[in-house]
């Protein structure tokens, strides 16, 4: 329980993730894109239920999202349209980012893991649809600002309970 990284790094990473979550919850997608590195690799693999001896079930080939900056930007542009029905009226989301763990850090790179719970509401439904995952992120410093350089979202579910994955994780 010694602190492998200084508390400042943890605090910076935490602020980064909290700010990112805020932008996503507030649907400020263009400002969110500014937090994302031009070299981003962003993946959400498909998962299957497997015998324990066959591992945790994350696919190496199949993804719910497998994005680079250009495809993320295309998604954001589409959401700008009033005709993006899946998000107009928008899903109301609330992200809780928990258990942030810095794995390694240099002056220009932080590798971290966090646990994510997203509560999603559409229309009149009083109960949220919940999506949870571990996120494994790499933040990189670019021109003195941190950017999201790599994200791997490890979902806990195998079947998505929402009609569309029209939010970012």
């Amino acid at each position: 329980m010694n602190a492998p990284f200084d508390a400042g790094t943890e605090a910076e990473a935490t602020r980064f993730l909290n700010r990112e979550a805020e932008l996503l919850d507030n649907r400020e997608f263009h400002r969110w894109l500014e937090m994302v590195s031009a070299n981003i690799r962003y993946r959400v693999p498909v998962r299957t239920t497997r015998q324990n001896k066959e591992g945790r079930g994350f696919s190496e080939k199949a993804f719910f999202l497998d994005e680079d900056h250009g495809t993320l930007k295309t998604r954001v542009l589409r959401l700008d349209s009033e005709f993006a029905w899946s998000e107009n009226p928008a899903t109301r989301t609330r992200r809780i980012i928990g258990n942030i763990r810095v794995r390694s850090a240099t002056a220009d790179t932080v590798a971290l893991a966090s646990n994510l719970a997203i509560f999603c509401y559409r229309g009149d439904a009083a109960a949220p649809i919940i999506l949870t995952a571990e996120r494994q992120d790499i933040l990189g410093r670019e021109n003195s600002a941190w950017k999201l350089a790599d994200r791997l979202v490890l979902l806990d579910t195998t079947v998505l309970g929402m009609e569309s994955l029209s939010i970012f994780l």
Binding site: V46, K61, K73, W85, G161, E163, S164
Partner: protein
């Protein structure tokens, strides 16, 4: 002895007039969220039709298995030691426990976690514990897993039929195979599934997806307007109604297909040359090959719930389009809900890099996160909601499937169409959907009772 459950004999009254309705292009909205209809569909359609189970390339090795539904019942699809595929009810013959609790994997046997009855991967009962003490006269051969009486493999697609008296798959598909061949049999290696399927839940009836893939071209410009705006699909492929690229084929032995094409061009759904050079003209008829060559988009549904979409698109307007094939099943989960299963395929001969690219492009357009699919699944639940209203019942509300019906259109079917079925050179029609409901009604109101010998 078998005592048929009462639900098999309940045919809702409002189906009585549906044949006449259909001729006028009308369909009772209640079809989309009605418990009686649903129970009847499970018994008359899903328990009797050729239902898609898995793709051969999901099960490369003996012992490879996946679990898949037929209707709402759980089955295991497993490759046997002899290479044959078995479709087994995931239910122990002893006292009903689930014998396979993983969704996929590889196994040498299915051993029940309850009392340890053990089955070979072909479903035969291999042994029971304490046989000498408690089962001296148990005939192992009578207590194998229940299995689908008919399994067919066509161009990599595995279908099963639970009806012992089912017609053979070839007969079931009929001349629609002419179109299926184009999607699935163009290269020597056939098509290959990339990774595991997407699975997700949508609060809409399963028919909503199945009908959509029969040629609902007129929704593209509205439902998918935001996707069209960001420039990821060619205008011709998007099927604007005024364009000449669209072709709807209906009444092809009970099925339909929608085609978008650019006669004279070499398109092959935007597959690149590194892929198309494996397409083998000798594997198809010249007409089939020519159609493939000029095609931008193909989509169709093999009744009841297997659909395909062959398409070239991109995920970023700055990158070129790439061709891919998606296949999917619309699995019923009660009358107002379905689980969509979605696979992405490419020709087996495609380079690995291309496969990854095609997967990305497929996922980005048709999957839970797909820029197209997102908006489809968002509008579909409205119909299920309308279907569940008391207003619909009291007023016997009927939906309008009249687009292009009779004198609604002045566009005549092609006289010289080289393929089976009736081909109308227009995107502005719902003939494919009407074909779907004609087939549906025929299967739902069939007179012979369901086979009922005990097993």
């Amino acid at each position: 002895m078998n005592v048929p459950h009462k639900t098999d004999s309940i045919v809702p009254d409002f189906l009585a007039g549906m044949g006449e309705d259909l001729k006028r292009g009308l369909v009772p909205v209640r079809l989309f969220n009605n418990r009686d209809i649903h129970e009847l569909e499970l018994r008359r359609i899903f328990a009797r039709s050729w239902v898609f189970i898995a793709h051969e390339t999901e099960l490369p090795n003996p012992g490879d298995f996946v679990t898949r539904p037929i209707g709402e019942d759980p089955f295991i699809c497993v490759r046997g030691d002899d290479g044959a595929v078995h479709v087994l009810l995931n239910s122990c013959r002893h006292r009903g426990a689930q014998i396979c609790r993983a969704e996929m994997g590889n196994t040498r046997a299915f051993t029940c976690p309850f009392h340890g009855w053990s089955y070979k991967i072909n479903g035969e009962l291999a042994g029971v514990p304490a046989r000498r003490q408690g089962y001296r006269e148990l005939e192992l051969s009578e207590w194998g897993l229940f299995s689908a009486p008919h399994v067919a493999s066509y161009a990599g697609l595995i279908f099963a039929n639970l009806d012992p008296d089912a017609v053979p798959f070839e007969q079931y598909v009929g001349r629609y195979r002419w179109y299926l061949d184009i999607q699935f049999a163009l290269s020597p290696g056939g098509m290959e599934v990339i990774g595991e399927p997407h699975r997700w839940l949508v609060d809409a009836n399963w028919k909503q997806g199945a009908e959509n893939f029969c040629g609902d071209s007129s929704h593209t410009q509205m439902t998918h307007r935001s996707a069209l705006e960001v420039g990821i699909i060619a205008a011709a492929a998007a099927g604007a109604p005024s364009k000449e690229h669209g072709l709807h084929v209906h009444d092809c032995d009970g099925y339909a297909i929608s085609i978008r094409q650019n006669p004279g061009e070499t398109l092959f759904w935007n597959y690149p040359e590194e892929v198309t050079r494996h397409f083998d003209p000798t594997r198809l008829s010249p007409a089939q090959f020519a159609l493939a060559k000029r095609s931008l988009v193909h989509n169709g549904t093999l009744f009841p719930n297997f659909s395909f979409l062959h398409l070239g698109i991109t995920d970023n307007a700055e990158r070129p389009p790439a061709g891919f094939l998606t296949i999917r099943t619309w699995q019923p989960k009660g009358p107002g809900r379905m689980e969509i299963w979605n696979w992405i395929l490419t020709p087996k001969e495609a380079p690995d890099d291309y496969k990854r690219r095609a997967y990305q492009v497929g996922m980005s357009s048709f999957s839970p996160s797909g820029s197209f699919e997102q908006d489809d699944v968002t509008v579909w639940p409205g119909t299920a909601r309308s279907a569940s209203t008391v207003f619909a019942e009291l007023n016997n509300v009927k939906l309008n499937y009249q687009m292009g019906l009779g004198s609604m259109s002045d566009i005549a079917p092609l006289r010289d169409w080289e393929g089976p079925g009736t081909a109308v050179p227009s995107n502005a029609g719902e003939s494919g959907l009407r074909t779907f409901y004609k087939t549906w009604l025929e299967r739902m109101t069939i007179s012979n009772p369901i086979r009922s010998d005990a097993r």
